[in-house]
């Protein structure tokens, strides 16, 4: 055991230091991964652009200028214009915002739903567990992208329906993950001790189980966000994404594909930014994985 300090004041500092050093150790592990640091910088920038984008965009996302259609980059249109005369720079700024909103809300919704159901299944066991896990199996077996298409077709191509569709197809992974982690602890001594203290199942889940797996769940969430970004773009590629004139990376990339020789800037800017962003998110998730869960994969 640690040396027990004789006086109160320095000891309090010491206790805080040990706590801080746990966070600092995680951060130093994260920092040791240069890709994760670069990724984090880009992700941060991406978020910043997503937040301030609508205010700094020189043009509205629906604003067209037919006289300037398919124009190469100029000072007024720094990334050129597309076939309808949309300013590509403004389009990208708005796309960042919409893509982030969709990916984050969809991931958080899937995370919440999956976490609650997975905790319930793992802790309850028996029939509840079996039934819920068969539903999870169904979602794993059924092509998620296809189900997304069906849901978007049914409910429309707005922000809300897309978030809903992504959440519906995304929760099963979180549920299966946390259920497995809970199974590992459910019959352990910590839970037995908690129950012996009179902890109700809900209380056990909230105060004992979830806090012990939160780092694994955050890592899963960090991988889930770029996943939802990709699917959201992929929906646009087949024309089932955000309804134009709402801009999206998938729309821009799909539309530019046909004109790649004539107007290459229409492809390079959105595709480049989107690719770098996805990579950055994955690097961040990878870095988090190493920092929070150094002993092994999730």
């Amino acid at each position: 055991m640690m040396e027990v300090p004789a006086t109160g004041a320095p000891a309090r500092g010491a206790a805080i230091a040990t706590r801080a050093s746990a966070t600092r150790r995680a951060w130093s592990r994260y920092r040791a991964n240069p890709l994760a640091v670069v990724g984090l910088i880009w992700v941060f920038l991406f978020f910043l652009l997503g937040i301030i984008g609508p205010w700094v965009a020189p043009h509205g996302y629906a604003q067209t200028n037919y006289l300037m259609a398919n124009h190469p980059p100029t000072w007024a249109y720094p990334m050129g214009t597309d076939s309808l005369g949309h300013d590509m720079f403004s389009e990208i700024l708005f796309s960042i915002r919409f893509a982030l909103e969709i990916a984050i809300f969809a991931s958080l919704a899937a995370f919440t739903l999956g976490t609650v159901l997975g905790l319930w299944a793992g802790l309850q066991g028996g029939l509840v567990d079996t039934a819920l896990m068969r539903v999870v199996d169904f979602f794993f077996a059924f092509p998620a992208y296809f189900l997304d298409l069906i849901l978007v077709t049914k409910f429309g191509r707005g922000m809300g329906p897309i978030i809903f569709a992504l959440a519906i197809t995304g929760w099963a992974g979180y549920a299966r993950l946390i259920r497995g982690l809970v199974l590992g602890m459910r019959d352990g001594e910590m839970v037995e001790a908690a129950r012996a203290l009179g902890s109700s199942p809900l209380h056990t889940a909230a105060r004992y189980l979830f806090p012990n797996v939160v780092s694994n769940m955050l890592i899963a969430l960090a991988f889930g966000i770029p996943g939802d970004l990709t699917v959201q773009a992929a929906l646009s590629v087949v024309g089932m994404g955000l309804n134009p004139p709402l801009p999206s990376f998938g729309n821009m990339i799909a539309a530019a594909g046909g004109n790649i020789l004539g107007y290459p800037w229409l492809l390079y800017w959105p595709a480049g930014i989107f690719a770098v962003t996805l990579l950055s998110f994955l690097f961040v998730a990878d870095g988090l994985q190493e920092a929070l869960n150094p002993k092994g994969g999730y």
Partner: protein, 329 residues
Amino acid sequence: MAHPPLLTVDALHTHFQRGSETIYAVNGVSFSVQPGEAVGVVGESGSGKSVTMLSLLGLVRGRVTVRVARAQFKTWDLTRLSRRQLEDVRGRDIGVVFQDPMTSLNPVMRVGDQVMEAMLAHQYAPPRAAFQRTLDLFREVGIPDGATRFRSYPHEFSGGMRQRVMLAVAIACEPELLIADEPTTALDVTVQMQILSVLQALRARRRMSVVMITHDFGVATNFCDRIVVLYAGRVVESAAVSDFLARPAHPYTRGLKGSILEIGSRGRQLNPIAGAPPTLTAAPSACTFAPRCPYALPRCDQELPLLRPFNPGHEVACHRAEEVVDHVG
């Protein structure tokens, strides 16, 4: 005794279903605990010590059937309480300390919070009072500098210190009964003594009843007033410590005593009990100890010996107890 017992258990059966097999873990255990009394429940691994106590608290999990003729704690019939009521009794009226403090504490919660948690969950005290009381409890169980240690996490504590935290958690709501399930088994010997003396002091100060589950005779006889010996899920002997030491009346108890090595007994022959405990896959219909018993008669293979009064305060489940107790061997 003058007072009604604090805890009375009559004919407790706990059976586990494993595949197509039934494991008869506890087969009709009866005992009682008087207010302020310390009862030692001893027996080897698999004798049903822990399962007995966990069954009473509704803590056994899996495919299990618990049957009991009577399980009365204070004025409550434990079998009639709803899940919600039982949760309220656990931790508030009955405290539990488990064997391994390394794995029983929540690794991501500050130790002080874990003590407070017990009080807040049972509305035993408002937060401010619970905080003060946590510091008092830390002092009482021998955690120095409680205000600082309050903020520590379990991994910053040694095994002994963690067990002190577990004790503080278990007694936070001033339970009338403390169940200690092998509280010192995972600790090294010097720390065992410290924990036992803390436990002894806690008990003396509040006249709390303790059920001490252990396989360590030394711990049981030093700490307890009365010993209950379990074998294959049945009580084979129940006696005051003095009787238990001087006049063990069950062959199994005698066998256990003969297989203990004591300091200063150089040259003495150890007499281990021959054979192995039964497999518990069938309900007992005869004496479960008979196959290993040097005193066994044909009758022992046919007739289940019931727990019967032998001397005042001394009960035994053996057909030949009178002959066994006088046998010098």
